[in-house]
Symmetry: C2
Subunit: 191 residues, 2 copies
DNA sequence: GATGGTGTTGACTGTTTGGTCAAGTGGCAT
DNA sequence: ATGCCACTTGACCAAACAGTCAACACCATC
């Protein structure tokens, strides 16, 4: 049962932090949702902060890794698949926003450990998008260009688009932003 | 002294919330920084939340109003002035990020009153950028286009750029994003 | 069947939190 | 000088918080 209890804690912590932020996450709620008692939790984690950091790293790293690297590992049509993913609303929860952005905003300037963790995750996000663009250049879908910069702009515009939809409550705002972003990326088409 | 005490509270609350988020803002710290006693604060505000909402509305509304509407009220060179403002690093605090985005991320899905307040501020931001673009169209700096959509993309890409710099700690990331954004906007020039 | 390690239980603690309140101060009008 | 009212003071409170701990259950292995 070891792995089971630990995993229940990781899952419940991720959900609670995603919904209420780290500072708003109540240990009592996490434990209730996980169905785990307090002392049991302190057997697996030294404190709330380490549990939250573990949850963020394990849940988000896993998610980003699969979503974007799958495209890069595919065969051709890299841009088309990437754009398709951006347009797919089922992958997004606009009410809660982006889990990475939420924690960056809340914690980066407050706590050095969170700062480092989010820096790494965000860098990995940018890197995996860059790989998609590199593949697209190799495949002749894009002309040769500064793909690192393009990935930087793409990821940040995307985070901004999710934020806009969270602020206004309008999913359409996200879609409009994504169309602008796509048309910008497409201006790098043809060699 | 009435206005003085109230203003000291508004200023200290804004700083504390900007630095630590709403949920991380300790009433005791706000009071210490303002040099105001607890009972005195409860004479001016019914509770912490209302004080924070007042601080956000008064401090941010004032700030956005002046910064962007000044450009629209100017004479010509609307785009150039707007771009100049985007490139001006002195106006930004990348460690703490954007005060609007921070609170949207933290509170929009938690509290309905914050949600409404931030929705309004964000809409005002978009509106004031749209006015700049409308002026630019009238002045022949841009061709006729959907300025509301362009303002939406511009504001959200900008928020994303500030977030990217906050995450990485690199001011250059913000500048790179802004250059991409500007080149996108410039694709609407002429015609 | 004793031993020991892994995991569980829930009562308990000390602090910090936002919020209350009765008593007091100072200036202004009458 | 008296009464009034906006404002101040700081002690006080209940609730919520993260974290501690001694006792206990289970299941190996010897």
């Amino acid at each position: 049962m070891e792995q089971n209890t630990r995993q229940k804690l990781i899952d419940a912590t991720y959900e609670e932090v995603y919904s209420h932020g780290y500072q708003g996450a109540a240990l009592a709620d996490i434990l209730a949702n996980a169905g785990v008692h307090k002392g049991s939790m302190y057997h697996f984690f030294p404190n709330k902060k380490e549990m939250a950091l573990s949850a963020i790293k394990e849940k988000i790293a896993e998610r980003f890794g699969t979503r974007y690297l799958a495209i890069a590992k595919g065969e051709g049509d890299y841009l088309a698949h990437f754009f398709e993913g951006l347009r797919d609303l089922k992958q997004r929860d606009f009410r809660r926003g982006c889990p990475v952005a939420n924690i960056v905003q809340e914690m980066s300037n407050i706590d050095e450990d969170f700062n480092m963790a989010m820096k790494e995750i965000y860098a990995k996000f940018r890197q995996s998008v860059k790989i998609i663009f590199d593949k697209a250049v190799s495949a002749g879908e894009l002309r040769s260009c500064d793909t690192a910069k393009l990935a930087l702009f793409t990821t940040s515009a995307l985070e901004g688009a999710i934020l806009a939809a969270k602020a206004s409550g309008e999913t359409q705002d996200y879609l409009d932003c994504v169309e602008c972003l796509i048309s910008y990326i497409e201006s790098y088409k043809h060699g």
